[in-house]
Symmetry: C2
DNA sequence: AATACAAATGAGAATGATTATCATTTGTTA
DNA sequence: TAACAAATGATAATCATTCTCATTTGTATT
């Protein structure tokens, strides 16, 4: 675990809440977590962290580039560890399961379409809403 | 104006608020309007419509296929007249100006990437956040 | 045109996610 | 170890949106 270095590099003090939250993302089986989920996970393991702190830390980690935030259409945000490589998301409409994909041709065409219109692209969101095939998905496809 | 027919076709009563809102979308110079903007526009023209009604009607129109809702990352939704043809959006980060584009190759690749993973695609959101070149945009590019 | 009734409306309360406030606690640095 | 800014937790506040419910309005019927 080189978490402490990550935090120092980002100019953030080494505090318990921050270490716990970062640790959660690095060890959880679920790659995509909402603020509420992070909060509940911490509570369930006996940690005493306030919800406000969870939101604050998540936002700081996003700004520091440690996490990436995804806004979904249901109005909720989830966070994921920044792997450094961009990717888009497929979200199951039934169970919320999230899968990632990357298509260089789509990326290139986004860039082209945007610059053709005189815009300077800053970032983009490509979310595909679909029905997945997971065992426990309430949608029996 | 064949608005009344549109409403009847959708199984909606012809009420003043509904006609006014639909009319607004068909005559406004701004194609993309938020609920708040619709509400303010109506107030400014002396119409007496409640904000709750605006939200209700907007949702009904969306379900009836008259309008399309776009959720942006800032947590706000805008609505636009349904032209029947799908398109994606470029949003200016400074002034909020919205532009539309369509790239069949991007569409095709979304479909391919999704089905390859065993998902049945239902819909998607492709929003590009950029800096625009409008005269009145606070961003002097 | 008057009646009847469900559907629609408006005002304001309620909600849910997120952010701000502020007194108290905790890292860090001298 | 003192000293002080930064961080935290509890809670209030905010913002967009939805819900509640008493009142009003289309519409279909006499």
């Amino acid at each position: 675990m080189q978490q402490p270095e990550d935090l120092k590099k980002a100019g953030l003090k080494l505090t318990l809440p921050r270490l716990k939250i970062l640790n959660l993302f690095e060890n959880s089986s679920e790659r995509h977590l909402s603020a509420e989920e992070v909060y509940k996970q911490l509570l369930s393991t006996g940690e005493d962290v306030g919800l406000a702190t969870v939101y604050r830390v998540l936002t700081q980690f996003e700004q520091a580039g440690l996490l990436v935030r995804q806004h979904f259409d249901n109005g909720k945000s989830v966070f994921e560890l920044n792997k450094g490589e961009h990717h888009d998301h497929i979200v199951c409409l039934q169970c919320g399961h999230v899968e990632e994909f990357y298509d260089p041709e789509i990326e290139a065409r986004q860039e082209r379409n945007t610059s053709e219109r005189g815009f300077a692209i800053q970032e983009h969101v490509l979310h595909i809403y679909a029905n997945c095939v997971k065992e426990n998905c309430p949608n029996k496809t």
